[in-house]
Amino acid sequence: MVGAASALYAVRAGLSVVLVDRGPVAGGTTGAGEGNLLVSDKEPGPELELALLSGRLWADIAAEPGVAEAVEYEAKGGLVVASGVEGLAALEGFADGQRSAGVEAVSVAPGQLHDLEPYLADGLAGGVLYPQDAQVMPTLAAAHLVRLARAAGASLRTGWTVTEVLRTAAGAVRGVRTSRGDVHAPAVVNAAGTWGGELAALAGVSLPVLPRRGFVLVTEPLPRRVRRKVYAADYVADVASDSAALQTSPVVEGTAAGPVLIGASRERVGFDRSFSLPVARALAAGATRLFPFLEGVQAMRAYLGFRPYMPDHLPAIGPDPRVPGLFHACGHEGAGIGLATGTGHLIAQVLAEKAPDLDLAPFRPDRFPADPAPEELEELEELEEPEEPEEPEEVS
């Protein structure tokens, strides 16, 4: 998704773009996502600023002819609920901080929760409504952004695996070697998501992107019974945590197509693709607590993906001072769909040598110590997953 957005903004900025992926469009984490465009789960700081910028840009793209429908864009808002007074106080405090950073956050009294979400469980302490939260269908979003980029002149090379980052004698990037031939360009954007660390390594630099596994349950198609993205306040704490152990907090949302999506689990288990019934059980338990009517609704399938996790939960965006011509746009953890537009826009700005709209210092790719901590090194060694795509994009 981030590669597609980067290609789109770069080509619209007048650059010549080749988009290279070892798999098909959206073959990596994008195709395994829920398509969240969220501000609600972000604390004030650089990521929230990026989310606010991205939200505006998503709305702009969705306003282009046919796009909102094609990508199932819904500005439906998010509702965060707390089960007890203590959780509610924490949630209110969190929302206060967000408001001062420019987020719309509307406190919802317990008596009003059912006006917003009629099927929500009884007895919740209250919640906060975030009207700026939105959703897209991520695979469609990536495919249609690629379609728009191609319409503007970008070329697409799917099934091309990058095997080498080509460098000049002076060390600057001059393109990539792929399984199907060389692509020459004075700038290479690493938008390989969870596999961004591998691509960085091909250029001789370290970037600590680690996989954080998540499962999503999908129900049978239903009429619109869950109107917004609804989740429990402890989700925010889980997102921000550094734990490798399994965490689940209920995140429930309806989709334009009918099924309800149920998340969210987080665990750092490398690229283990095996299904876990205990995780599915925990997700189902959390969702049925929030929405009791779901008890009788069928789960039809489950899928998993690997979020590109970085130790400080911030993506790497911008030029890599260690390798002239190398740019990074990866490591967005679970927010890559939402943050894709802002990331693509900022990357296009720096590629075109304009001042970026946001300060990129917090996203500097070389902000981590050169030698990863031993625990992280161990996980990095597991980063071998030949089937998954990389999404580097070449810009010349």
């Binding site: 469009v25 099924p259 009788g296 399938r301």
Partner: protein, 481 residues
Amino acid sequence: MTDRMADRPHLAVIGAGPAGLAATLAAAGRGVRVTLVDSAAEAGGQFYRQPATGLGARRPQALHHQWRTWERLRDGLAAHIAAGRVTHLTDHHVWSVERQSDTSGTTSGASDTTGVFAVHALLGPEQEESVAVRADAVLLATGGYEKVLPFPGWTLPGVLTAGGAQAMLKGGLVLPGRTAVVAGTGPLLMPVAVGLASAGAKVAALVESADPKAFARHARVLAAHPGKLAEGARYAAELARHWVRAHVRHTVVAAHGTGRLEAVTVAALDGAGRVRAGTERRIPCDTLAVGHGMLPHIDLAEALGCGLDGAGVAVDDEQRTDVPGVWAAGETTGIGGAVLSLAEGNIAGLSIAARLNSRTPDRSWYASAAKARAGLREFFAVVDSVYAPPAQWAEQVTDDTVVCRCEEVPAAAIREAVDELGAGDVRTVKLLTRAGMGWCQGRMCGPAVAGLAGCAATPSRRPFARPVPLGVLAREPGQIQ
């Protein structure tokens, strides 16, 4: 050693068709405690599907072949159940087999070849409650289901799978209508046509896209299976007796009707597998039984992490999968009919009985079954090469033809995903179009989507072998030991 049943090693057999029954009898006969878990009300699977008891059929064999084999399986199962060696759980719909780490320490000694499994099954038609059967070993004998490729009109009521027509006839003693056309390709079409005709339906045509004369190229293999040749001749004679016309190298181009099937258009095929212009002919009918071969049920195996061999579960000489403690037999390992399933089930049962008691099975125990297995696999490889859908079937699928029946995805959307949106594999086509995301999870449209998209039909992973209510999923299951 004690003879207490509860102390014996415990095998869960999933599926009570020929393979599952043969394995159950072989393993139970050698001291293994067996729980046979099956979704139907009575044993038999699809091949030996029995009329419901309440229907009082006094001559059910009129709808069956190899009836004596069935009697032997049925009586053997009854004897083991009476002796307490086998528990038969009917109306149990398995949705997941979970491999758990062995912490109890109570299982038999052969920990390197067995595991601790929980077989999760939904109960009865309501499917609102789930139980877990714990076992030391699992045999997957989940059989297969029919493949059908789309054509205009195939979603009309009255169009159904050939196997579906047969199942409704065998189990419910009902016919879908009065005048049927049986069409597609494969060895199932003749018995279905004969079954419908003998039960009183008018079979207006049998339409087979392959040319069975192609069998002549495999004279050596055929010569080794005189029984199969005789079976084919018997069906041909039965068809003639019922005045059923067989059209080989023909295909159904479209089904017609408003609200239900009224007629089909049938046409001849040329050497390249294309419809021969000008040969189209309309045949009035209220039933079209159609099939293009069979596919193995592999969901449980896939979720357990078992390796595949082509479309089926990969097994070794003893029918072991590559996951310790998990065996597979019958059509889940590849399509090959009831007799092959019996041989594989028998071998699996013997292997399991030995392995659960920390012994290596002696190949001489199952030499004759292994010989039958080798011969039948060779025979069905020939069957597979002879029977094929028309090579250019996708040309007949108009843009507005619904391909994914559940999500109502037309062929145009699949073509657009490939041509305009950069899809090059079935997973991406699915994500972009919703084809395969509905109730059946792509079991019906999978081969068609791959064919239309021009990519390989890679199996999609289905962690739940059938839909599970979230309330059931959320609860810890009740245990059956």
